[in-house]
Assembly symmetry: C2
Homo-oligomer: 225 residues x 2
């Protein structure tokens, strides 16, 4: 680091949060409609400035709670975006996070700086403010990867689910169908799930075993080697 007396125009620092949920068989994200310029009336990711004495992860948790009423969900630092032109007001560097929340947990409300808030399918987004489209694309890529070798989906699914349920979630996130036999074999071989010893019975379908994640503590599996 250069000596502190060297004059540097300090940038401002924000956190922005991509909150993923599943609703009506679609992967959706929470957006807020901006009440103020720049990008007044344009949809944006929820977020805000990091406070002077606040840890950045704490800032992300605070924004998550303020904007969607949720806590206790999976929240991960995604990437920091720092192009000098990304905010017309001046230099703003943003630390992006992503969160996974079941639809039941999300309470959608407009914070004081928002005109409106809503869930949007990631396949059918409105125009987004700033570089938020780029942030969302990065989050989608990370999510698509992470569900292959971690247990983060516990945060998107209800407590108990069938293998059919979880396969649909994978298919929705990846945007493509998976072969049932292969998928189940691979998924169970990861060792992240356990059967709870109960069946879900439906009128028009065969009873299906219910599963849950063995733990909600973060698990990252070894890969090729």
């Amino acid at each position: 680091m250069k000596p502190a007396h060297r004059k540097i125009e300090a940038p401002r620092v924000t956190v922005d949060i991509v909150i993923f949920t599943i609703e009506e068989a679609k992967l959706k994200t929470l957006l807020i409609k901006r009440k103020f310029d720049p990008f007044k009336n344009i949809w944006a990711l929820p977020g805000g400035f990091v406070r002077s004495k606040e840890d950045i992860y704490a800032a992300a948790l605070r924004e998550l709670s303020e904007e969607s009423g949720i806590s206790g969900v999976y929240l991960e630092q995604l990437y920091t975006f720092g192009s000098p032109k990304r905010d017309p007001r001046g230099r703003v560097i943003t630390i992006a996070y992503f969160a996974l929340a079941s639809r039941q947990k999300l309470r959608i409300r407009s914070a004081s700086d928002a005109k409106d808030a809503g869930l949007f399918s990631v396949d059918d987004l409105p125009r987004l403010a700033f570089d938020h489209k780029e942030i969302l694309e990065k989050a989608l890529e990370r999510l698509g990867n992470k569900i292959q070798y971690t247990n983060v989906l516990w945060s998107l699914l209800p407590e108990y689910f069938t293998l059919g349920d979880i396969q649909r979630v994978y298919e929705i996130i990846w945007g493509k169908k998976a072969d049932k036999r292969n998928f189940r074999k691979k998924l169970l071989s990861l060792g992240l799930l356990k059967p709870i010893g109960k069946l879900r019975k439906g009128l028009r379908r065969r009873p299906a075993r219910l599963y849950q994640f063995k733990t909600k503590k973060y698990v990252e599996l070894k890969r090729f080697f």
Copy 2:
């Protein structure tokens, strides 16, 4: 984001870079000895403030070049560290990067803010300034993972190498021996390498095929599914 007129004490933003190389069969990282307070005379990761109109990736490239004379190597954003207490001077958020460089490419020199610079084995580090130990640990973890499903090792190895050479690099990074047969089978199955059709002959060893990475463009392999 909150309206711009809300008063926020702006943090300062730095980039810090973990530069990995291999020397004498050890994974090493470049450290600089700080010339100024805080942490005067303590070793630290190379880095510095992001300039007002500079992209953060450009800042990392600039620091990399200033501190080690290298360019054209693999450089990736690692993680952003933003504990409010990490710098005794006040609020400084740092965006950490990591780079991989073959020893031949590295020119070690002291920048104007450093008293000294040198390579240190990651297994035998001096006391580090700030939270740089934590940053280094995160970088080590990322590196250990990334070499399992990407081609980033092109940047740490010479242009041509034997499977024995690259196995040693994996073993050095992971800090453990690998079974030769299994390792080779798995490594070649990734499809990242190609034989160049030449052998390396040695006086005291059997001739060994030389390989190179198929591309230096970033490749990330699919994982379990």
